[in-house]
Amino acid sequence: MSSTPRTLFDKIWDSHVVQRLPDGTCVLYIDRHLVHEVTSPQAFEGLRMAGRPVRRPDCTIAVADHNIPTVGSRVPSDIKEQDSRIQVETLEKNVKEFGVPYIPILDVRQGIVHIIGPELGVSLPGMTIVCGDSHTSTHGALGALAFGIGTSEVEHVLATQTLLQKPAKNMQIDVTGTLGFGCSAKDVVLAIIGKIGTGGGTGHVIEYTGDTIRALDMAGRMTVSNMSIEAGARAGLIAPDETTFAYVKGREFAPKGEAYEQAVAYWRSLPSDAGATYDATVRLTTAEIAPMVTWGTTPGAVVPITGAVPDPTEIDDPGLREQAQRMVDYMGLAPGQKLEGVPIDVVFIGSCTNGRIEDIRAAAAVAKGRKVADGVQALVVPGSGLVKRQAEQEGLDRILLEAGFEWREPCCSMCLGMNPDKLTPGQRCASTSNRNFEGRQGPNGRTHLVSPSMAAAAAVTGRLADVRQLG
């Protein structure tokens, strides 16, 4: 055991190194591999061609989430879009052939892979967790090293239960202060990305520290960690604490009884040591965080709702100026235009960023007793069947339906429009998802990233609105 103070990242990394190669590349052991239908077919095909089995089906779990309809029949053979149906059916065939545990679409536990991993206790503190999806960073909220991988790496993990990796650098993002009224975890992470930029975390794993982070519930922590990749960091981390242990306890796949106690004892050893050093540290206070809204087509193009669209002509760097101009044009906005009051067509509440029960409660609290504005379509898509059931037990579906929201079945939905839920060209959406890239929610659709309560405020006013003004 090294006596040098180590970070949370260092500790998880060190405990998963199977073999260090001469150039510093490590064979890194993977505890959990989450598999979905979009990035796995070519990986299973690769195994089949090479005659290789899945090494550890008992460390693997599969679910279909990206292509699933949120209305109508969810029986795979009924999926109307042929290419979507084929991907789902291919996953179902592959998990059977390779003996991989699978959560069927009609199972109440089905949902977005990054919602159900923590929800079912499949994802646990101290683990290495991978998935062929960049938002795997979500699971880092538990104090697990969790990152997205490509399909070749999916095949590599299926075949070997390891990855070839070099250690990332450590970045600390320390947030202090009490969040103001109307502010949430989403606003924290949007403010962070606005501050460090979409490439600010490249090559690093971000550990989020500070009393603001510690005060977040697990849902909020997952929202923050989820968007680490939007700052360029493959993984985010939050040290496990009593909030984490209480969250994990009793979940379906989590250790029980004596095993749980052993696990907690180990998890308590994980937080960064006093004196551990980071390659970079960024500090924010809650004074810098208001309800945020993006104005452009990268998540870093973000301002408080009281702010305005920047004027590209005031940017010195020609490349950045051109990019800003392109974003303003694409978004159909004008330099200097106030964000508050911009009319919207669609509201999307859901995704692995904001599809948890806490997010739906926040949206319902704003929606209660109000009506979705005329001409606005407002979708609420719970992140999993269990989230949906919980919301219905709490009567949140009634509140939302009475207000004129649509209450859908769980899936990735309009976050990336691989199922029928898409924007039409030119439509403007207040969305609780994670990316506002050009065409992300549908060709020529316009996305404003916001928190769930801000999305609900946009729905009931028909405009980008400051949720604090609704009272």
Binding site: V27, D58, Q87, A159, T198, G232, R234, A259, A263, T298
Partner: protein
């Protein structure tokens, strides 16, 4: 995977920062169970007009860049999703090398797995190489992986860094999985130790 040794070809300039994976290949084209055939959708929203016809202003629609094997871009190329469809689409189009000041981590990794060489060079050098591309059909540049140099049309050589292990895999067209399986006994013993030390780790098989 095809070996990457030396490449001489047309380079196309894409002077944009933060070229995200949705721009490289939009999500609606990810619904495939194959690796091939994605080249037609590469940069779909930039390359085609709303009526589906080619946008003649987009660089890869113009000669000689239609034949480009090298792409030169600005900062944070490949940011966003983990989709390996992004390098698959580049490869299917014919791009074997991307040069930029820096790359998003997942895209960078995914490129190597598909025999695409991502090269990091300073912004000023990228801009200089973009100027070179204006020589049109004479804008051939050479990328020599063995010697780790990019050769400009005027013969000037620019050195680049690459991880030695990745270089070895690319030069020999080696499959990562085969490499890792050489360590299978180490993986076995790691698993045995972990089972003994952390018996509480549950299985996903219930």
């Amino acid at each position: 995977m095809d070996k990457f040794t030396t490449l001489t070809g047309i380079a196309a300039p894409l002077p944009m920062a933060n070229v995200d994976t949705d721009k490289i290949i939009p999500a609606r084209f990810l619904k495939t169970i194959k690796r091939s055939g994605l080249g037609v959708h590469l940069f779909d929203s930039l390359r085609y007009r709303k009526d589906g016809s080619e946008n003649p202003d987009f660089v890869l629609n113009r000669p000689p860049y239609r034949e480009a094997q090298v792409l030169i871009a600005h900062e944070n190329f490949g940011c966003g999703s983990s989709r390996e469809h992004a390098p698959w689409a580049l490869l299917d189009f014919g791009i074997r090398c991307v040069i930029a000041p820096d790359f998003a981590d997942i895209f960078f990794n995914n490129s190597f797995k598909n025999g695409i060489l991502p090269i990091r060079l300073p912004r000023a050098v990228c801009d200089q190489l973009m100027e070179d591309t204006k020589l049109g059909g004479n804008a051939r540049i050479t990328v020599d992986l063995e010697r780790q140099v990019v050769v400009r049309p005027n013969g000037e050589e620019i050195a680049f860094e690459i991880d030695p292990f990745r270089k070895h895999l690319l030069l020999n067209g080696l499959d990562d999985i085969g490499q890792t399986l050489q360590h299978a006994p180490k993986i076995d013993s790691y698993e045995a130790t972990r089972r003994a030390e952390m018996p509480w780790i549950p299985a996903t098989t219930g």
